[in-house]
Amino acid sequence: MALLETERVTMRFGGLTAVSDLAIRIEQDEIVGLIGPNGAGKTTAFNVITGMNRPSEGRVRFAGEDVTGLARHQISRRGVARTFQNIRLFRELTVLENVLVGCHAAIAPGVFSAPLHLPGYRRREGEARELAASLLGEVGLEGNAADLAVSLPYGKQRRLEIVRALATRPRLLLLDEPAAGMNPQESLELMHLIRRIREKFSLTILLIEHHMQVVMGVCQRIYVLEYGETIAQGDPAAIQNDPKVIEAYLGAQ
C-alpha cells in the first residue's frame, strides 16, 4: 500500500486549470521529486494534498485512508507536514516557540487547562520542549532558541521551517523549494540534511525544487509537471534524457 496516492486530482480556479489528472504514488521511505517550470502546478499539488484546497475532481489517499476534503489540521495530525515556498514562520514567536507550535497537536492544550498548568498539560509541554530542543540541535539552531524567528538569516530560517514541520512527527514531509535562494554550498548541506532527517526520522519525502543538482542528487523518482499536466515520471537518469522534459525547460533557466 502506497503511503500517498493521488487519484486523478484536478484543481480548477475559476477558468484556470492549475492541475489536471494528477496521479502521484509514493511508497514508504521514498524520496520523490516534483519538478517543472514555474506555474506548472506543483505548489497547487501540495495544497491539495495538505487540504488547503479541495480538489475539483479526484481523491487523495494517505496511508490507505481517503483524506480528500479533510481540514488542514486534520491532515497534518495524520502525519503530513510541509514547508512553504515563501517561508511562513511565525513572526512574533521565537525560534523555539515556532518549533513548539509544531507540537501543538501532541500537547493538546485547552484554553483553561493550559493556563492552569494542569499536570497532564505540564508533562506534555515538557516533553514537547525536549523534542523541540533536540530538533533545533539537529540543525544547529540550538543557540538561537530564544531569538525571534524573523531575526535569523535566510538559510537558518529555511532550516527552522523544516524542523518545525518535523515537530509534528510526520510520516510524509512535503518540502516546497527548500533550496530556493541558496548558493551551491548551502544546497549541498541541504541535501545532506534531507538525507539525514529521512534516515533518522523514517520519513517519506516529496520535494519540489528548481535546483536540479539537489533534485537529481537526492530523489529516487521524479514527476515532471507542465501547465498542470504530468509530462514525465521516472528515475533521475530517465528524466534528464527525456525530450519532453528538456523541451519544457527550454528557454527557462
Binding site: 480556479f13 475559476g14 505548489t43 495544497n47 488547503m52 512553504f84
Partner: protein, 297 residues
C-alpha cells in the same frame, strides 16, 4: 395599501436608494483599489452637506454655486485625507489602516461637532427642488425625482470614465493587482488620489441631495448612512460600481418598503441593513455581482 400609496413608497424607496447608491460607489471604488474600508467616507458625506449649507448661509452663494463649490472642496479633502491618513500606512498590516480610518472618522465627526455645533441645522431647500408635484394620484416632492435622475447621470459618466478613458483603465488595473500595475508604469498614487477624489465628490453630492430631502444637518448624520452604504456596496459586490448601485437601491427599497408594510418593525429599521449584511456575508460574501475570490498561498 392603495396603489397611490404604494407608488408613494416606491418613489421614496427609489430616491433613498439613489442616495445610498451615490455614497456606496465611493466606498466600493476605494475598497476595490486599496482593500480599505474607508470608515471616514460617511463623514465626508456630512462635510459636503455642511459646506454647501455654509456657502449659502454665510457666504450667500446661490444654491447651485454652493453645491459646485462644496463637492469640489470635499473632493479635494478626500484626496488630502488619503495622503495624510492612509498613504503612510500602505505597506502596514491592514489592521493599522483600518484603525487610522476609524480614527479619521471620529476626528472628522468631532471636529464637526466643535465647528458646527451639535445641534441640528435646518437647510433651506432650493425652490426648484421644493416643488410638490402631483403625478397620477401620487404626491411627490421634485427633489425625490431629481435624485434618481442625477444618480443615473453620474453613474453613466463614471462608467464611461472607467471603461473608456485611460484613467479608468488605470483604475481597473490597480484594483486587479496593485503591484503589477506599478510595474506597468502606472502612477498608482495618482490613480488612488483620483479614486478618493471622485468617491468623495460623489459622497458630497449625495450628502447635499440628502440634506435637500431630509433638511436637517447634524455632525453625526453621516455615521449611519455611511455604514449602511458600505453594507450596500458589500451586498452588491464590493469592488463593482454597478454592484454598489444595485446594493444601494436594494437596501433603500428593503428599508422603506419593509417599514411601509410592517410599521411595527420601524424601530428596527436601522438593523435591517446589518441583518442583510450578515446574510450576504454568510451566503455569498462576494456579493450579488461579485466574482469568487481566491487567496494565493
Amino acid at each position: 395599501m392603495t396603489l397611490p400609496l404604494f407608488l408613494q413608497h416606491l418613489t421614496n424607496a427609489l430616491s433613498l436608494g439613489s442616495l445610498y447608491a451615490l455614497i456606496a460607489i465611493g466606498y466600493t471604488m476605494v475598497y476595490g483599489i486599496l482593500r480599505l474600508i474607508n470608515f471616514a467616507h460617511g463623514d465626508v458625506f456630512m462635510l459636503g452637506a455642511y459646506l454647501a449649507f455654509y456657502s449659502v448661509a454665510t457666504f450667500l452663494l446661490p444654491w447651485w454655486a454652493a453645491l459646485l463649490l462644496a463637492i469640489l472642496v470635499t473632493a479635494a479633502f478626500g484626496v488630502v485625507l488619503e495622503r495624510v491618513a492612509y498613504r503612510p500606512l500602505r505597506d502596514s498590516p491592514r489592521i493599522s489602516v483600518m484603525i487610522s480610518a476609524i480614527g479619521a472618522s471620529f476626528l472628522i465627526e468631532n471636529v464637526g461637532i466643535v465647528l458646527f455645533g451639535g445641534r441640528p441645522k435646518g437647510v433651506s431647500v432650493p425652490a426648484v427642488l421644493d416643488v410638490k408635484l402631483a403625478l397620477g394620484g401620487v404626491s411627490v416632492m421634485s427633489v425625490s425625482l431629481v435624485i434618481p435622475v442625477l444618480t443615473f447621470l453620474v453613474l453613466a459618466v463614471l462608467v464611461w470614465i472607467v471603461q473608456r478613458t485611460r484613467t479608468g483603465m488605470a483604475m481597473r488595473a490597480v484594483s486587479t493587482d496593485l503591484d503589477a500595475a506599478r510595474l506597468q508604469a502606472i502612477d498608482v498614487n495618482r490613480v488612488i488620489s483620483f479614486t478618493f477624489g471622485a468617491g468623495s465628490l460623489l459622497a458630497a453630492l449625495g450628502g447635499i441631495m440628502w440634506s435637500y430631502k431630509y433638511p436637517q444637518l447634524n455632525p453625526l448624520m453621516g455615521t449611519m448612512p455611511g455604514l449602511k452604504c458600505f453594507i450596500a456596496a458589500v451586498i452588491g459586490g464590493i469592488g463593482s460600481i454597478s454592484g454598489a448601485v444595485l446594493g444601494g437601491f436594494l437596501l433603500g427599497a428593503i428599508e422603506l418598503l419593509t417599514v411601509a408594510f410592517l410599521p411595527t418593525l420601524s424601530g428596527y429599521r436601522d438593523a435591517f441593513a446589518f441583518v442583510l449584511l450578515i446574510l450576504v456575508l454568510l451566503v455569498k460574501p462576494s456579493g450579488l455581482l461579485g466574482g469568487t475570490q481566491v487567496e494565493k498561498v
